[in-house]
């Protein structure tokens, strides 16, 4: 899932300081799962904004809603009725949701309530970790199911670097060295020969370096 982290109330309030009526819009997708942008967080944010503005003597009206997914035009379309008199939308979705709303409703100011952090999962309740670097050319088959692109601090393909020590990354002793994990995994599986070949230079044009990516599937086009 996409993991996002709420911005501070002060930062969000700063974006909407001229607004009198805001739509606080949650997303029922990833950000609900990672406890940062679902209906519960929408309600808390709306109350907090109203209290802050009341304290400042500039009361604000809030409308609260959570779309099934903000990254889906079909759902985004349905929110048009909620925009009556609204001069700003605060989106609790990831960066994709914020942009979908801004594209569909260009006359309204849409601001983010979150910092979109990474693609990852929960390792324990309240802890999320990054797992995929979205490089566009998955190499997990040769690295024992462990991604060096995102789990190695240097994204190196022929690791580990000299900064790896006792299975830890030099950048942060709480971070396991991805290449030690890969080594241990391949050793366990009797596939260490995978590590002996020099991994060739990567085609980063399939990653973000090629510009914004687009994926077309002819077989499902309408």
């Amino acid at each position: 899932m996409i993991v996002a982290e709420p911005k501070s109330l002060a930062e969000i309030a700063g974006y909407i300081k001229d607004a009198k009526k805001v739509l606080v819009m949650g997303c029922g997708g990833c950000v609900t799962v990672c406890l940062s942008g679902g209906q519960k967080e929408v309600d808390i944010l709306a109350v907090s904004l109203r209290m802050l503005r009341a304290k400042e003597g500039k009361p604000i009206e809030t409308v609260c809603e959570t779309l099934e997914r903000q990254c889906d035009k079909e759902y985004v379309e349905k929110m048009s009725t909620l925009l009556e008199g609204v001069d700003c939308v605060v989106s609790l979705a990831c960066g994709v949701g914020v942009q979908y709303l801004a594209e569909r409703y260009p006359e309204v100011l849409v601001v983010p309530a979150q910092n979109t952090k990474f693609i990852g999962g929960t390792t324990e309740h309240g802890i999320w970790e990054e797992r995929c670097g979205l490089c566009g050319e998955c190499i997990l088959a040769s690295t024992g199911g462990i991604c060096p692109i995102i789990r190695c601090s240097k994204s190196i393909l022929n690791g580990p670097c000299g900064g790896s020590s006792d299975g830890k990354c030099e950048v942060n002793p709480d971070t396991p060295c991805a290449w030690t994990l890969i080594y241990e995994q391949l050793k366990r599986q009797g596939r260490l020969a995978n590590l002996q070949e020099v991994f060739p230079v990567k085609d980063w044009s399939k990653s973000r370096d090629g510009g914004p990516r687009k994926y077309v599937r002819e077989d499902v086009l309408l």
Partner: protein, 313 residues
């Protein structure tokens, strides 16, 4: 020309390659360029110490701190009679910039390059910088070899005037797991590394163990391994290495010696000379790389006491 004819197996015009092939025990050192637009320290040190070693590494923004560039520093070394070994890390440049800089460095007379990953930017003076790592150190080794031996850029395009570098790499013999370190060393050699400068060695036992594995794999016959040493000035410096440098092993015995020393600088030199004495006797070690970080002036004394003089031409 006569020398080249006498040793036809040489791949480059590198002095280091020639010395290794002639069977000399090679001694290199290191100069850290400064955080400013002056090469005075490089020039002074080159002039004063060039006869005490066979080449100087020029670090590439060491510890991820912005400094005068390694290639520019190397040219200063060349201009003052020294042999530069330019370090090239993968942290700050993509394959376009690295190949361009390699062409430029060769055109200016540099013949030796040391390929490294580079310290992560979070350790340096620009921790908010974006790192590059378009290619890694092993891919860089292969790239330099491809340019030289195939006259091709990494994309396969042919070039007319190929840079003919003698290719170096680094390895950390004290990092764990040691089997993985040996495997990675082999990969570097397979990619094209011709000489290896190791991370600083304080723990002879660990180094001997690594070296045994290296010999068992026959790697020492395919690459010239130089053991790294770092003269320490104080107990604080030694403790810092033990506690803060990833993969560094410093035996307690050395800490005790430094803590009891009347004159820590003198003790630091003695420890270094003793380490060199032991390292040079280990089968498969073909040279010593001395890293007098921030203490360049100590080089002549260390080399003299280690019995490495005179250096071959």
């Amino acid at each position: 020309m006569s020398e080249r004819e006498a040793t036809p197996e040489l791949t480059t015009e590198s002095k280091l390659e020639r010395l290794f092939s002639q069977g000399h025990f090679v001694v290199t050192s290191e100069i850290g360029p400064q955080k400013g637009a002056s090469a005075q320290n490089i020039i002074t040190h080159t002039r004063e110490s060039r006869q005490y070693c066979d080449g100087f590494n020029l670090t590439d923004n060491q510890s991820a701190v912005v400094r005068l560039s390694s290639i520019a520093a190397g040219i200063h070394v060349l201009q003052h009679g020294g042999t530069p070994i330019i370090q090239m890390t993968c942290r700050d440049r993509n394959r376009i910039a690295m190949q361009s800089d390699l062409l430029g460095a060769y055109s200016l007379g540099v013949r030796d390059v040391l390929c490294l990953s580079g310290d992560h930017q979070s350790f340096g003076n620009h921790p908010t910088a974006k790192n590059v790592y378009d290619i890694d150190s092993i891919q860089l080794i292969a790239l330099v070899k491809k340019m030289r031996d195939e006259k091709k850029l990494v994309n396969g395009e042919e070039i007319k005037h190929e840079p003919r570098f003698y290719i170096g790499a680094v390895e950390n013999p004290c990092g764990d797991p040691v089997e993985l370190r040996v495997m990675r060393l082999e990969k570097k050699v397979q990619a094209g590394a011709q000489f290896i400068q190791t991370q600083t060695i304080f723990d002879i036992k660990k180094f001997e163990h690594w070296m045994r594995l290296v010999r068992d794999a026959g790697i020492d016959r395919r690459v010239n391994i130089m053991a790294g040493v770092l003269p320490v000035k104080s107990l604080r410096a030694l403790k810092f290495m033990k506690e803060n440098v990833a993969g560094m092993s410093v035996p307690d015995e050395l800490i005790d010696r430094m803590s009891q020393a009347q004159d820590p600088q003198e003790e630091g030199k003695t420890i270094t000379v003793e380490l060199i004495e032991r390292l040079k006797k280990i089968d498969g070690v073909k040279g010593i790389h001395i890293m007098p970080v921030g203490w360049e002036a100590v080089l002549p004394e260390i080399v003299t006491r280690a019995g490495f003089l005179p250096r071959p031409e």
